[in-house]
C-alpha cells in the first residue's frame, strides 16, 4: 500500500521541529495537553469565579469586541509572518532538492510542511483559547459554544499558518536558490518582522484599541479588520459571552460566521494547493552573478582611516564582506526601525536623559548584530587568519575598526531620532550626549567582540546569536539599575559610571575572547 506522501513529510517536519525534546517528542502533545486541561477545567474557572461581575460587565461593554478582535488579529498576523520569516532565514534548498527528486507532488511538500508544523503551534493556540473558554465557563457557556470558540481560534491559526507556508514557499521560489537569493531571503526575514513589531507597539500604546473602540464612526482600521476571518470569530466569541447557553440560545448569525471561517480556510487550502506547483522550484531566477564594484571614495577613506598598507587592505576586505551581505544591512535597518517605532509610539520625553533611555537598551542589540558575525562563517574561515602570521590579532583589530566605523554613524542617527521626541531641546547638551552615546557604543563594540570570541557562534541561526546579545543586554540593564540604586541616573556621575563599567568589562571580555580565539580548534 502506498503511503500518503504529505503525511510522511508532515511526520518528518514534526520530528525536525521537536528534535530538541529527544525521546519525549512523541509524548509532547500529551505532556503539554494534560496541564492545559487541568488549567482549563479547574484552575482558571476557579479564579474567574472571583471576578464574575467584572467579567459580565466587560463582555457587556463595547471594549470586549475590540479586545477579542485584537487578540485574534495578532494571532492571525503572527502565524502568517512566522513561517515566512523562519523559512526565508533558513535557506536550506538542499532539503528541497532531496524532496523534489522523490516521486511526490509539490502540494505534498507544502501540505506536509503545514501539517507537520501544526501540532507544534497548536499547543499554544489551544492553551490560549482554553484560557478564554475557561474564563467564560462561569458565565454559563454551553459545551457547543465552548467547542466553537476553540474552533474559532484553531481556524484563525490554521488559515494564517497555511497562508504563511504558501507565501513563504512562493517567495523562496521567486528569489531563487542562488547565493544572492539566500542573502535576500535572510534580509527579508528581518524586514518581515519589523511591521509585526510596529503592530505590537501600536497595540501596546493603545492606538489600535482606541481606533477600534471608536465604533460610532467606523474608521479604516476597523473596516480593514472586518475583512479578515479573525474579526468574524471575535464577533461570535463576544456574542456567546453575552448569550451563554445551549444551541437553542444561538442566533443564526453565529453559526453562519463560524461557517464563513471554515469556508475561508477550505478555500485558502484549495487555492494554496493549486499554487503549490509554482512554489518549491529550484530554478534560479537569474543566472548572472554579481560583480564587485570598483573601489570608490568610501573604501579609499576606510583604507586611509585604517592606516593604509596591509592592515588597511584587511579592514577594507572585512568591510566589503560585511557590507555586501543584505542580511547585515537589514539587521541594522531593523534596529534603526525599532528606534523610530519606539520614538513614535512611546516618545514624548521631557528631558534628554528620558529621550535616550531606550537607546541604552537598543545599543547592545545593534553592537551584537554588527560584531556577531565574526565567527558565523565557521572555523574554516577563522583558520584563514590562524594560518597567517599574527593573523588572529589582525582579525581582532580589523573587526574593531570596521565595527566602529559602522557603529558610530548609526549611533548618531539613532540618537538624533530618539531626541526628536524631546520637547525644548538644549542643543549643546544634546550634542554632548550624542558624543557620549558614540563613546558608549564604541565600548559596546569591544565588549561584544570579546563576548563573541569567548562564546563563538558558528552558525547563522539568529537564536544562537541571541545568547551573547542577551548577556550584553542584561549587562546594560544592570548598569542602568546600578545608577538608579545609587540615585545617579541622569547625573553626569551616573553616565560616567555606565561608560566606565562598559569599557572596563569590554576590555576584560576582549582579552578573554582573544585567548579563546587562539585556542579554538
Amino acid at each position: 500500500m502506498r503511503r500518503r506522501k504529505w503525511l510522511v513529510l508532515a511526520k518528518n517536519a514534526y520530528l525536525i521541529r521537536t528534535s530538541s525534546f529527544g525521546g519525549l517528542r512523541y509524548a509532547l502533545p500529551f505532556l503539554i495537553g494534560v496541564p492545559v486541561v487541568v488549567a482549563m477545567f479547574i484552575i482558571v474557572p476557579w479564579i474567574a469565579d472571583f471576578f464574575l461581575d467584572e467579567l459580565e460587565l466587560f463582555f457587556l461593554s463595547s471594549a470586549a469586541v475590540a479586545f477579542i478582535q485584537i487578540i485574534l488579529f495578532t494571532m492571525f498576523i503572527l502565524f502568517l509572518t512566522f513561517p515566512i520569516s523562519f523559512s526565508l532565514n533558513s535557506g536550506q534548498e538542499e532539503h528541497y532538492e532531496v524532496l523534489l527528486s522523490a516521486p511526490l507532488k509539490p502540494k505534498d511538500v507544502i501540505l506536509g510542511k503545514f501539517v507537520g508544523d501544526m501540532p507544534f503551534y497548536s499547543v499554544g493556540v489551544i492553551a490560549a483559547s482554553s484560557f478564554l473558554v475557561a474564563l467564560l465557563l462561569p458565565l454559563g457557556l454551553g459545551v457547543i459554544q465552548a467547542i466553537m470558540i476553540m474552533g474559532i481560534f484553531l481556524l484563525t491559526f490554521f488559515s494564517a499558518l497555511w497562508i504563511g507556508v504558501v507565501l513563504a514557499a512562493m517567495i523562496r521560489s521567486k528569489i531563487g536558490s542562488s547565493a544572492r537569493g539566500k542573502d535576500v531571503g535572510k534580509a527579508l526575514s528581518m524586514a518581515v518582522a519589523l511591521p509585526m513589531v510596529g503592530l505590537m507597539y501600536a497595540i501596546m500604546s493603545g492606538m489600535v484599541y482606541s481606533a477600534l473602540l471608536d465604533s460610532g464612526s467606523k474608521g479604516p482600521l476597523a473596516f480593514a479588520l472586518d475583512l479578515l476571518p479573525s474579526s468574524w470569530g471575535a464577533d461570535v466569541v463576544v456574542s456567546f459571552a453575552l448569550n451563554p447557553g445551549g444551541v437553542s440560545d444561538m442566533s443564526l448569525e453565529e453559526p453562519l460566521r463560524f461557517a464563513a471561517m471554515i469556508v475561508f480556510f477550505v478555500g485558502a487550502l484549495w487555492v494554496g494547493t493549486k499554487l503549490a506547483d509554482r512554489a518549491y522550484s529550484l530554478e534560479s531566477q537569474s543566472l548572472s552573478s554579481n560583480l564587485a564594484r570598483p573601489e570608490g571614495q568610501f573604501y579609499r577613506t576606510v583604507r586611509a582611516v585604517s592606516g593604509g598598507g596591509s592592515f588597511g587592505s584587511l579592514v577594507v576586505s572585512v568591510f566589503k564582506d560585511y557590507g555586501r551581505r543584505l542580511e547585515n544591512v537589514s539587521k541594522v535597518v531593523y534596529i534603526i526601525g525599532l528606534v523610530m517605532l519606539v520614538t513614535f509610539f512611546f516618545g514624548g520625553a521631557e528631558d534628554i536623559e528620558g529621550g535616550l533611555i531606550m537607546l541604552l537598551f537598543l545599543l547592545p542589540f545593534l553592537s551584537g548584530f554588527i560584531v556577531g558575525e565574526v565567527t558565523v562563517r565557521g572555523k574554516e574561515n577563522l583558520f584563514i587568519y590562524r594560518k597567517a602570521p599574527r593573523g588572529e590579532m589582525r582579525l581582532v583589530k580589523a573587526r574593531i575598526v570596521q565595527s566602529i566605523i559602522v557603529m558610530v554613524p548609526l549611533t548618531v542617527i539613532a540618537s538624533a531620532i530618539s531626541l526628536t521626541s524631546v520637547s525644548g531641546l538644549d542643543m549643546g547638551y544634546a550634542l554632548l550626549m550624542v558624543l557620549y552615546m558614540v563613546a558608549l557604543s564604541s565600548s559596546l563594540i569591544i565588549f561584544s567582540l570579546g563576548l563573541f570570541l569567548m562564546f563563538p557562534v558558528f552558525s547563522e541561526k539568529p537564536a544562537d546569536m541571541m545568547g551573547n546579545v542577551m548577556i550584553l543586554s542584561f549587562f546594560m540593564m544592570g548598569c542602568f539599575f546600578a545608577t538608579l540604586f545609587l540615585s545617579l541616573f541622569g547625573e553626569a556621575a551616573g553616565w560616567l559610571l555606565i561608560l566606565t563599567l562598559t569599557s572596563a568589562s569590554g576590555i576584560v571580555a576582549l582579552l578573554l575572547g582573544v585567548r579563546n580565539l587562539k585556542a579554538i580548534e
Partner: protein
Amino acid sequence: MPKTMISTKQLSKSYGKSGQVVALDKLTLDVYEGETFGLLGPNGAGKTTTVRLLNCIVKPTGGSATVGGYDLTRDSIEIKRMTGLLAESPGLYEKLSAQEFLEFMGALYDVPTDTLSSRTDKLLRLFGLHSRRNHLLEGYSRGMKQKVLIAAALIHDPPLLFFDEPTSTLDPNAALMVKDLMKDLAENAGKTIVVCSHILPVVEELCDRIGVINRGALVAVGTMNELLEKTGKDTLEKAYLDITGGVQQKELLSWRELRSAKT
C-alpha cells in the same frame, strides 16, 4: 644529503578532556627540501590533522616538530610565513571577488603592494579566471573556487606548500593543469610540496615519496617502488589497500530482497 624541511618526532594530537579521541598518534617523519611528499590514508585517518599541525593551525598534544628549521610550538609566525596551504574544507569570503580575495590573502601575508597586484593578475590569468576576476565568489562553481584557493595558497610564494585534496573538485583539464603546476613548482622552483589525496594516480605521478596514515598512525613510508616491494603488489592501489586493511568482503547486494537478477 638534502636539507630536512619537515621533521616530526612522536608528534601527537588528541581531542577530548582526557584525550580519548586520538587524531594523530606519535608521527615520526622527515620530509626533505625540494621533495614532493604524498600523504595517503582513508577518511578520518589523520591526514588533515597532520597538515593543520604542521601549519600551526592546531597545537600538538605530544611530541615535537620543526618546519624549515623552526620549532612548531615556539616559532609559529615564521612557519606560517614560509608555508602555503590549500585546506580540505577551506574558508572563503564569498562576498569578495576573486581579485579582492587574493589581495586580502596577500595583505595577510604582507606581500608588498606592487608585487601583489601583478602576482594576483598573473595567477588569475594562469587559472583562467581573469575575465571573471571582478565577480563575487558566491557565484563561482566549486571548481572555480578551488582554483582561487590554490592561487591564494601561492600568493606569497612560500617555499613549502601543503595541498589537501587539490584536484578533487576540478574538471580533467584543470586537474591536469594543477598537476603540471605542482610538478613545475617542485622541479623548477625548488618548492617542497606535501600532497594529501585520494586520487592515487596523482600521488603516483607527482610524489617522490609516499606516507600512509591509518587510524592516526603512520603505517608505511617510502618511494612507490619501496611500497610495492614491501607489500608484494603491482599497483599503488593494491599496495594502499593492503597497507590499510583493504576492503572487507561483504555480500554487496545483500540489502536486496531475493528476487531475480534483473529486477
